[in-house]
């Protein structure tokens, strides 16, 4: 198991595409925090340096769970796409161990990326606030809660990406499935089943987990998302263990 985790970590950090995506996510977090600062105090937006403003900046790194999802998909489906799954299962014939290692590494990557996104967002926001001479309310429960949401959301998104990637096995198809589901799929279901259904769907759970209001409480969202991850992961693992690689 340790060998698999070591190998999966190396795979995650030695692929250029992954590094570029991670840097892109942090860049986007900085950009969104700058935008939050720019619009602060206007049009009913929270004023610079207030807890609500800083929480918005931290949550601006919403893009991070999205990138963690993509990284998880690439880590799993990419192995089938590039045929590297053969070598992976030659090195580790216990396929279950490979699946668990992949999910753990993608979750850790998502959490680390989430933490980095929060740090970048808050650094940008506090810098703007300091320049403006506003008092900074960093040590606030709202800020901490939203920051935690991004970290937890990133971790769960990474793991769910792995499960989805193993299930679909094509990078493009998995990415399209993930985005079509979040952009349209849940909307269609809510049109049919009513808005209230939305909170119980994966996208709604993910939003709740990262602190979006009007849905489940944050912990409820995280738990529901974890349940979805385990469910999709269980099906993906069964298929992966039984599948002929040829």
């Amino acid at each position: 198991m340790n060998a698999s985790i070591h190998a999966e970590t190396l795979k995650m950090v030695t692929t250029r595409t992954h590094r570029r995506l991670a840097l892109g996510a942090l860049g986007a977090a900085a950009f969104l925090a700058t935008a939050t600062a720019g619009f602060a105090g206007r049009d009913g937006n929270a004023a610079l340096g207030t807890a609500s403003n800083l929480a918005n900046a931290a949550r601006g790194s919403h893009v991070v769970p999205l990138v963690a999802l993509v990284l998880g998909i690439l880590a799993a489906a990419g192995e089938f796409q590039h045929g590297t799954i053969t070598q992976t299962f030659l090195s580790t014939p216990r396929r279950r161990a490979v699946v668990v290692a992949k999910a753990l590494v993608a979750a850790t990557t998502g959490a680390v990326l989430g933490a980095a996104g929060v740090v970048v967002g808050l650094a940008v926001a506090t810098s703007w606030s300091a320049l403006d001479g506003a008092s900074i309310h960093l040590a606030d429960a709202t800020v901490a809660g939203d920051a935690t949401g991004v970290v937890v959301g990133g971790a769960l998104a990474g793991a769910i990406g792995v499960a989805l990637g193993l299930l679909v096995r094509s990078q493009a198809a998995a990415l399209v499935t993930a985005f079509a589901w979040t952009l349209f799929g849940e909307g269609v279901i809510m049109l049919i089943g009513g808005q209230g259904v939305g909170r119980w769907l994966p996208g709604g759970a993910a939003q709740a987990a990262s602190g979006v209001g009007g849905l489940l409480p944050m912990w409820g969202g995280a738990l529901l998302m974890a349940a979805y991850t385990v469910a999709i992961g269980a099906v993906a693992t069964r298929l992966t263990v039984a599948r002929d690689i040829g």
Binding site: A3, S4, H6, A7, L10, K11, T14, T15, R16, T17, G78, H82, G83, T84, T86, Q87, T88, F89, L90, S91, T92, P93, R94, A242, D244, I245, G246
Partner: protein
């Protein structure tokens, strides 16, 4: 010293039986050639050996243990499969680091293997820019990382230049001499002819020949003679205790004979000879004979 044993190995894909009740052993200290026409089931068999494809029936083991039950399999078995691929966006060196990490192999082996397969200068380039030959060398490097007892190679000379083929041949001979077990599949029969000690020939998923190469092709050595006096020469050859197989009114095949013995018989009866050739049947002729006769039988 590891022996590979397959018993009743079968793989069905729906109605198609790709591999049918295969039984064989691959002995340590030998290079065994694994042959068959395209679609004969070679790759499926190799993948069953390696636990990548699940047999419909039968077993295959390394000293009694299936691949999946080996502790750190990369240290016992090294494999190069046709589809062995490295991620295009990764460097060759990183690819080997990953294989080493996953197999519980000392990371220090990575640079040694890069030297051994001749990829030291390309180690820090991404695999995307590698030629087919370089990718094949990288795949061989991954197989050699754990310094395994057993090598299973599917078309390993694919894309290698003549120097690379020579290098690979020397490497396999040296390993076989050290008691390693080597199974090589290839469609380039001439290449295997000079390399393998034993062969397994597969056709339509069934084993059609297995054994030492010399034994399998040995019985067909002989001298072919073209002469207008075929009958007189045949009588003389038979009188000298040789087995003669008349092929046409002016052509004889002297089974298992040496050219000098046939030449002395020719001189003794004083016949005119148009042509005299030592026929040394090759792996190729054995292969064609075995796999073609199957085709005709259908």
């Amino acid at each position: 010293m590891t022996t590979i044993t397959a018993t009743g190995l079968t793989k069905r894909f729906g109605a198609l039986t790709a591999v049918d009740d295969l039984g064989f052993t691959v002995e340590p200290g030998t290079i065994t050639g694994f042959l068959g026409p395209n679609g004969a089931g070679k790759t499926t068999t190799l993948r069953m050996l390696l636990g990548l494809v699940r047999p419909s029936a039968g077993t295959v083991t390394f000293d009694g243990r299936p691949y999946g039950a080996l502790d750190r399999p990369g240290r016992t078995v090294g494999a190069v499969l046709e589809a062995s691929a490295a991620h295009p966006a990764r460097t060759g060196r990183d690819h080997l680091r990953i294989v080493a990490a996953a197999g519980g192999i000392d990371a220090g082996r990575v640079d040694a293997v890069l030297d051994e397969v001749g990829l030291r200068d390309a180690a820090h380039r991404t695999v995307r820019g590698y030629s087919l030959g370089m990718r094949q060398r990288l795949a061989l490097g991954a197989a050699l990382l754990g310094d395994p007892d057993v090598l299973l190679l599917d078309e390993p000379t694919n894309g290698l230049d003549p120097e690379g083929v020579h290098w690979l041949r020397e490497l396999l001979r040296a390993r076989a001499a050290r008691g390693h077990t080597i199974l090589v599949s290839s469609h380039l029969l001439a290449e295997l002819d000079q390399l393998v000690d034993r062969v397994l020939i597969l056709d339509h998923g069934r084993l059609v020949a297995a054994g030492p190469l010399a034994e399998l092709v040995g019985g067909q050595h002989g001298v072919r003679v073209r002469t207008p006096d075929a009958e007189r020469l045949a009588a003389e050859l038979r009188a000298r205790g040789m087995v003669v197989d008349p092929r046409s009114p002016d052509e004889l095949f002297v089974v298992d004979a040496a050219p000098d013995a046939v030449g002395r018989a020719v001189a003794a009866v004083g016949v005119v000879v148009y042509e005299m050739t030592l026929e040394r049947p090759t792996l190729e002729s054995l292969f064609l004979e075995l796999t073609a006769s199957e085709e005709v039988a259908r």
